[in-house]
């Protein structure tokens, strides 16, 4: 990927990326903590290590561009404009939650910000993104629809059918593959017979762009290009971001399947946050200030969530039909 001068970001912008990534990081750590403390129920998948992909991509999008996310969705949600309050409140099952307590961690929606929902079905969000993009095209709206999904999702029939249809109809979609090299416990080499995932896009003649998902600036540049391509009516792009999951698949995962030391090594070498901090030369003071600010937001979200309104049992009967 050649970084054009024009797409280089200002230090200020990058600093705001850093703050957002740090917010996601501390939010996710808080989720782990609150789950372990017994506050949260259900199934939680955090995105520790994958912050740069969410931020880099979503900061190229307009509010009315849409995304579909996955079971691992918190980072996408925050990056696409959801407040930490609305997200945390949802994890606590409160009325104030982004899905009013009906969804939970795998079903986070924020229609006003173009978030069409996390999805607990691997690959389940992709066909809908083709449909959304088709609607934009038919209505001649200059909007883009973005699907996030993992390496594991590329093995689903839905992935294949969606990319095929999206390319056939040249809809304005971007398919962002967060290749974190694992599907739950299964390393990529055990779930797919190829190392280079861009070959999958070639099955549809789809353009692909590969990027280091731990480098937010690079992700942003790649996404800018991908989104521009799609928005201009040139059809979808497969954006492959190589990234790392710096924690278990789900909160509580003992990770028996991980080679010893792998996670420690990855944390030392592949953490996008220290990398950006270094690039920007953020000094201790500014860093502390950032940490303090972010911690306050996260703490506030927990307070907000805890003080949120509980659902009435019979609220369960609402919202089944429009």
């Amino acid at each position: 990927m050649k970084l054009e001068e024009a797409t280089r970001l200002s230090g200020e912008t990058l600093l705001s990326f850093l703050e957002e990534m740090l917010l996601i990081r501390r939010f996710e750590e808080k989720v782990e903590e609150r789950f372990r403390a017994g506050d949260l129920s259900g199934f939680l998948h955090v995105a520790l290590g994958q912050e740069a992909v969410a931020v880099g991509v979503c900061r190229t999008l307009e509010t009315d561009d849409v995304i579909a996310s996955t079971h691992r969705a918190h980072h996408h949600c925050l990056a696409k404009g959801m407040t930490a309050n609305a997200l945390m409140a949802e994890l606590y099952g409160k009325v104030e939650g982004c899905s009013g307590g009906y969804g939970g961690s795998m079903h986070l929606y924020d229609l006003a910000n173009g978030n069409l929902g996390a999805n607990a079905v691997v690959g389940g969000g992709l066909p809908g993104i083709v449909g959304a993009a088709l609607a934009f095209k038919m209505r001649r709206q200059p909007r883009v629809a973005v699907a996030f999904f993992g390496d594991g999702a590329t093995n689903t029939g839905s992935f294949h059918e969606s990319l095929n249809l999206g390319q056939l109809w040249t809809v304005p979609a971007v398919f962002v593959c967060e290749n974190n090299h694992y599907a739950e416990s299964t390393p990529s080499r055990d779930h797919m017979p190829i190392a280079d995932l861009t070959r999958r896009a070639e099955a549809f003649g789809m353009r692909s762009i590969v990027v280091d998902g731990q480098d937010v600036e690079a992700v942003h540049a790649a996404a800018t290009e991908a989104v521009a391509h799609a928005r201009a009516g040139n059809g979808p792009v497969f954006l492959l971001a190589n990234t790392y999951r710096l924690t278990g698949h789900y909160v509580g995962d003992p990770q028996v399947y991980r080679p010893k030391g792998e996670q420690r090594d990855l944390r030392a070498t592949q953490d996008p946050i220290p990398r950006l901090r270094e690039l920007l030369g953020v000094d201790e003071d500014s860093w502390s200030a950032l940490e303090t600010k972010v911690a306050a937001t996260v703490e506030a979200s927990v307070e907000f969530a805890k003080n949120g309104t509980d659902r009435l049992p019979e609220d369960a009967l609402l919202n089944v039909y429009a």
Partner: protein, 326 residues
């Protein structure tokens, strides 16, 4: 009043909706030039073009899912799954996505999608092109299910499906396409959850859907000759279901037979029987009988196929057994 076929009724409704509303469009395999495998969409591509009458690849999951996505954006897509057997390939998108987005989002999302599909035995299509699966969909909160038996109902219910803010799975029966009947001059939307009483009677209620409504009508004629007065109720929409009309009818006749082409076991008739025995318990003079296909896949050889699916004789026998009781 004009007479049109069931096929034309579906087509007319699609055409009228597309004419008046740019948000309505169609997706499905071979629906454009070929007009679909049953000729239902014949000619629509000429009027509306390939952008709105979209031939798709053979990708039942993506077809349904693209419908979900477009619907969430406020379009009113009508997607066609060529044979209902193939909704087995769309079930994830229909059941886990279309049906649940609204609920999972706490009411933020609407999915005004219509999934048209057809099927049915009686012409030797074999076991993978003849299944009747409407029962499955009725087990899914968030979906609506329609299964019209006449041209008028097909036209009016399809219109209501398109304009329903929820996902509707709309079942058509292959052998009904050529049937002709009068329809009102202008398209009248038909409200979901309102049964049609095709014939009033006093001795036994037949609850029938799809093709079996016509079988029931013939049986009722025959029965009348033998002095048995049959009332026929067609729920038309299975979800929501007009329980009141069915239960009230049984409270009057005190007997009930339910019939459909799907296999009896776990077919929609089980739900009808369960509801009726619960709500009209004190009124029932005979057990509710179910008349559906025998518990086999649909065989190819016509002689076996005929044996498996329900016919006049089967329904008549059930009516007589029921009336003979008590």
């Amino acid at each position: 009043m004009p007479e049109i076929t069931y096929r034309e009724a579906v087509r007319d409704c699609l055409a009228e909706a597309m004419r008046s509303d740019p948000d309505v469009f169609l997706m499905g395999e071979d629906i454009a030039e070929m007009g679909g495998s049953m000729g239902v969409t014949h000619g629509l591509v000429d009027e509306f073009g390939k952008e709105r009458v979209r031939n798709t690849p053979i990708s039942e999951a993506a077809i349904a899912g693209a419908g979900v996505g477009a619907a969430i954006q406020g379009m009113r897509p009508v997607v066609e799954i060529m044979y209902q057997d193939f909704i087995t390939l769309s079930m994830e998108q229909i059941v886990l996505q279309a049906a649940k987005h609204r609920y999972m989002s706490g009411g933020q999302i609407k999915v005004p999608l219509t999934v048209r599909t057809q099927g049915g035995a009686g012409w030797s299509p074999g076991a993978q092109h003849a299944e009747q699966l409407e029962g499955w969909l009725c087990h899914v909160p968030g979906l609506k299910v329609a299964f019209p038996s006449t041209p008028e109902d097909a036209r009016g219910l399809l219109w209501s499906s398109i304009y329903d803010d929820n996902t509707v799975v709309f079942f058509e029966h292959r052998t009904l396409y050529p049937i002709k009947a009068e329809v009102s001059d202008t398209l009248e939307p038909i409200e979901f959850g309102k049964a049609r009483v095709h014939r009033e009677g006093s001795d036994v209620t037949i609850v029938a859907i799809g093709r079996l409504v016509h079988v029931a009508l013939r049986v009722a004629e025959q029965a009348a000759e033998e002095g048995i007065s049959v009332e026929i109720v067609d729920p038309r929409t299975l979800l929501p279901l007009d329980e009141d009309s069915i239960v009230n009818s049984v409270m009057k006749t005190n007997r009930c037979v339910v019939t459909h082409e799907a296999v009896t076991r776990m077919g929609f008739g089980a739900e009808i029987a369960a509801i009726v025995q619960e709500k009209a318990f004190d009124y029932l003079d005979a057990p509710i009988e179910r008349v559906g296909s025998r518990f086999t896949p649909i065989p190819f050889a016509p002689v076996m196929e005929e044996y498996v699916i329900p016919h006049e004789e089967d329904l008549m026998a059930a009516v007589k057994r029921t009336v003979a009781r008590g």
